[in-house]
């Protein structure tokens, strides 16, 4: 069974007998970054030592990513770096900017995992081929050559927590038996292309790529965005295991729970300066008290829509396939009703078909069966919809950068919806766009920029503005708060509540259960493409009946309980415990097949 587990596990070679000594792996002293007259980073000090995780936290725009990229000797165009960055004793940045040693450090000593891994995977190449290539690139495998590198790549995938069978089917029936990752399944998994994985799974493939390089330090930029609670708990567990194996980890995150669970030390950045550094508990604000039902006492924004509410959008018996000829089923007989002014949340582990459901409703996924009804009329796929129907159902998704034209300002593109779908004159459309944007915390100045100049969170809100300008009857939101900090999320929630007050129906796909509880009156739990539970949001979240819902709820709090990662065998996606021991055991020299000598000396 151990095909995918392999004998060689990435990592596990950090602590003992390191030629770099017990000292810091990454040493940043007085790092500054300037763009024109603006100072992005100002005298940042930072250390990452082997076998520990350090967190870099701070509000959006505080310079976290700039600092992380500086560790690779990389800076955005027009940004000048100065100060000192040393990784494993190699100077990466000195006072003249990136040093020559930087190229040698990338991947081999330090691997960076970017925020939006969907874009980090080459669409034209099988994941296994890239993993093997990265493994061979950074370590000589001697005569074993290719097969040894492949085993190493398989190990990286395993360490990253990617189980076989992410495709969607089978989680209902046979998912639990996933204990035996057969060699054939592992190979099939490595022969897949990135588009054959769900968003959360791609995150793990990206992590596997970083691991396949066999680095000493992992720099992870918001690794928990877009992960469901179970996957997030597993990520925390995996990170802790990697740290125990001797990796140095630098964690960039808005997710304070994850930081508390993983990193004992935290550096707080604020506008490019280190505002605080020390033990995580001292640096971060105390965790918000999490009662069993945090939002139950709070009245829902509009009066909860009862059963008598008029249905705005009904999906009946929706079955969807990924490929032609009804192959690769991802949804099985899913029915959802979104009443006027109501909000239905769709929740489930990654790969459960949430996005496919949203895309079916938006008319983008054509390989489906079943009925869609918008206000009593049948709703065809997008290209057969009338302008009225297109206006009626608007879809906002997670990674929106690709949907913006780089050559026109965001405002121009966003306002176009109102011109095209509602026939408003352009100036009025622009005025309305500005008004909505302002409520979402976007300034008019930001709106008149080009997409490339806006951050992911700003664009995500601009995409929401674009959809709202259509004045839709039904708004489909697919994880639209993943790139937002708490303030921006609150503005979005307020806007959703306002919409519902005006009768707009909302379908909300999200992983943040607290947010779901706050927003939705009905919740639908999806697992492996089937509805496993549906009902009143409070009831379901307070006393879930399905195993999936219980699991998602149990994993929602990370904090102190991390070691008690939910019994993984119950999780449809979890690595079964039988396959974990190689990494969980305390690291020792004999345990780690990748010895120091295997590594090219700097």
């Amino acid at each position: 069974m151990t095909g995918a587990t392999g004998r060689e596990q990435p990592g596990g070679d950090g602590r003992v007998g390191s030629p770099y000594g017990p000292g810091p792996l990454v040493e940043v002293r007085g790092l500054t970054a300037r763009a024109g007259t603006a100072t992005l980073l100002d005298g940042v000090d930072l250390t990452v030592t082997p076998g520990t995780a350090t967190a870099l936290v701070g509000p959006s725009g505080s310079g976290k990513t700039t600092a992380a990229l500086a560790l690779l000797g990389e800076a955005a165009p027009g940004v000048r770096l100065a100060g000192s960055v040393r990784v494993g004793g190699v100077a990466v940045v000195d006072d003249d900017g990136p040093a020559a040693g930087a190229a040698d450090v990338r991947g081999r000593l330090l691997a960076y995992m970017p925020q939006h891994p969907a874009h980090a995977l080459n669409p034209a190449r099988r994941i296994g081929a890239v993993l093997t290539e990265l493994a061979r690139l950074h370590r000589p495998f001697g005569t074993g050559g290719r097969s040894a590198a492949e085993a190493y790549a398989a190990g990286a995938l395993h360490t990253a927590g990617l189980t076989p069978d992410p495709g969607g089917k089978g989680m209902d029936g046979g998912g639990e038996q996933g204990g035996g990752v057969s060699a054939a399944e592992g190979r099939a998994l490595r022969r897949r292309f990135p588009h054959q994985f769900s968003g959360g799974q791609r995150q793990r493939v990206a992590l596997a790529q970083a691991l396949a390089c066999g680095p000493r330090v992992l720099v992870l930029d918001e690794p928990s965005t877009g992960l469901d609670t179970v996957a997030r708990a597993r990520l925390a567990g995996q990170l802790n295991r990697l740290v125990a194996d001797g990796f140095g980890v630098l964690l960039l995150s808005h997710d304070h729970d994850l930081v508390r669970a993983v990193a004992p030390r935290t550096v707080l950045l604020d506008r490019g300066r280190v505002a605080d550094t020390g033990a995580t508990a001292d640096v971060l604000p105390p965790p918000r008290p999490a009662p069993q039902r945090p939002y139950t006492d709070r009245p829902l924004p509009p009066p909860a829509a009862g059963d008598t509410a008029v249905p705005a959008l009904v999906a009946h018996g929706l079955t969807a396939w990924l490929r032609t000829g009804r192959r690769g089923a991802v949804l099985h007989d899913v029915s959802v009703t979104v009443p006027e002014g109501g909000c239905v949340a769709v929740v489930g582990p990654s790969g459960s078909g949430k996005t496919v459901l949203a895309r079916c409703l938006a008319g983008l996924h054509e390989r489906h069966d079943g009925r869609l009804v918008l206000r009593g009329e049948p709703l065809p796929v997008l290209r057969r919809r009338t302008a009225r129907q297109i206006r009626g159902v608007q879809y906002v998704w997670q990674e929106v950068r690709g949907s913006f034209d780089e050559r026109r300002t965001v405002l121009e593109q966003v306002a176009r919806t109102a011109v095209r779908l509602r026939g408003l004159p352009a100036p009025e459309a622009a005025e309305r766009a500005r008004r909505i944007a302002e409520r979402l915390g976007l300034t008019p100045a930001q709106l008149t920029r080009y997409a490339a100049e806006l951050s992911g969170g700003e664009l995500q809100r601009a995409a929401l503005v674009r959809a709202l300008l259509a004045a839709p009857d039904v708004l489909v939101c697919d994880e639209i708060t993943t790139a937002l900090d708490a303030t921006a999320t609150a503005l979005v929630t307020a806007e959703i509540a306002r919409l519902r007050g005006r009768g707009t129906a909302v379908l909300w796909v999200g992983h943040d259960l607290a947010l779901v509880e706050e927003l939705a009156d009905t919740v639908v739990i999806l697992d492996a493409g089937s509805v496993v539970e549906a009902g009143n949001c409070r009831t379901v979240l307070a006393s879930p009946r399905s195993g999936t819902a219980r699991l998602l709820l149990r994993s929602r709090r990370l904090g102190a309980e991390v070691p008690a990662v939910p019994p993984e065998a119950e999780s449809p996606e979890a690595v079964p415990p039988e396959t974990s021991p190689p990494e969980v055991r305390p690291p020792s020299e004999t345990d780690s097949p990748v010895h120091r000598e295997d590594r090219p000396q700097p």
């Binding site: 690779l72 990389e74 190229a103 450090v105 990338r106 991947g107 081999r108 691997a111 960076y112 970017p114 939006h116 874009h119 980090a120 995977l121 080459n122 669409p123 034209a124 190449r125 890239v130 290539e133 990265l134 690139l137 950074h138 292309f193 990135p194 588009h195 990206a206 790529q209 970083a210 390089c213 990924l322 490929r323 032609t324 000829g325 983008l364 996924h365 054509e366 390989r367």
Partner: protein, 314 residues
């Protein structure tokens, strides 16, 4: 992938069947037929009608189509009305030269266009890119026959290095590679330009993608990044363009064949049309169309592998 391949192949067969009917119908729309051409102006109408009956041209066209299609399905393209020999003989006589010309051109074209496309794409906006782009754009806008005549004037007439025409070459053209230099140069001039522009555009897009940036951050060296990561994605538009170029070349680039008097397929086709030699026109057109279909089939299969995510669109 296998299912896609099978489906795509099945469609190609359907395409070819439809194409055969279209070719047959169109050639029947040509004014006049071989019977009218065969006689001089003194021939009476009865004589023409007699010959027509003799050639079987008076039968209803549906019947003739079935007859012809049956023959084609069995590898018999019919009999030339002019020479009296089999059409496949005409095809065989002309396709050799054209295929060699096309093969030599493609052999040089692919690496050259890829190299030029990558070079300009990797240095987009730089001095090299602007210089090379200026040359390629200029070359594209020069008509083939102008370029051909310029080359002939310079290399054949002034310097006398290369033969200017295939006139007088009979049979053993494959023993004289110098005959190919100028025609291939003219064919390359334009095709390299269009293809390298596609590769250039693809390279620029691929280089700026998140995964290329990530591969660089994971320490993939530049050369490897370009060849293993960027090129497969950058090649997608290029492969389609290549298929188009390929079928153009095999169809024989008429201008080039005319200027250099190359006895290729385009020349044979034009001759057949002039002679109202309907079976030859049909046979040649069908054979060339089939090659075009196959080239596009190949390009689609390659594209499918290079852009596998297209399977989930819609």
């Amino acid at each position: 992938m296998l299912r896609y391949t099978l489906r795509r192949c099945a469609w190609t067969v359907v395409q070819l069947a439809v194409l055969a009917v279209v070719v047959f119908a169109l050639t029947n729309l040509l004014p006049g037929d071989a019977a009218t051409v065969d006689f001089n102006e003194q021939a009476g109408l009865e004589q023409v009608a007699e010959l027509r009956a003799q050639m079987g041209l008076d039968r209803p066209w549906g019947e003739r189509l079935l007859d012809w299609a049956y023959g084609v399905a069995h590898g018999d393209l019919g009999t030339s009305l002019v020479g009296g020999g089999p059409v496949s003989g005409v095809l065989a006589a002309s396709i050799g030269v054209t295929a060699t010309l096309a093969a030599v051109t493609l052999l040089l074209l692919v690496p050259l266009a890829t190299a030029v496309g990558l070079l300009t794409g990797l240095r987009a906006g730089g001095r090299t890119d602007r210089a090379v782009s200026a040359v390629t754009l200029t070359l594209t806008s020069v008509p083939d026959f102008v370029l051909a005549l310029l080359l002939v004037a310079f290399f054949s007439l002034r310097l006398g290095w290369l033969p200017s025409t295939w006139v007088g070459v009979d049979g053993a053209w494959w023993e004289r590679p110098e005959l190919f230099v100028l025609p291939v140069a003219v064919l390359l001039a334009r095709t390299v330009c269009t293809l390298s522009r596609q590769v250039r555009a693809g390279t620029i897009a691929a280089l700026h993608s998140g995964w290329a940036v990530q591969a660089r951050r994971l320490g993939v060296p530049r050369g490897r990044l370009v060849l293993r990561h960027v090129l497969p994605n950058a090649a997608v538009p290029g492969v389609q363009e290549l298929a188009r170029t390929g079928d153009q070349l095999l169809g024989g680039v008429l201008v080039v064949e005319a200027v250099f008097a190359i006895p290729g397929t385009a020349t044979a086709l034009v001759e057949a049309v002039q002679n109202r030699d309907v079976p030859t026109v049909q046979g040649l057109a069908l054979a060339l169309a089939a090659v075009a279909c196959l080239l596009n089939l190949g390009a689609d299969l390659v594209t499918r592998r290079l852009a596998p995510r297209t399977e989930v669109l819609r």
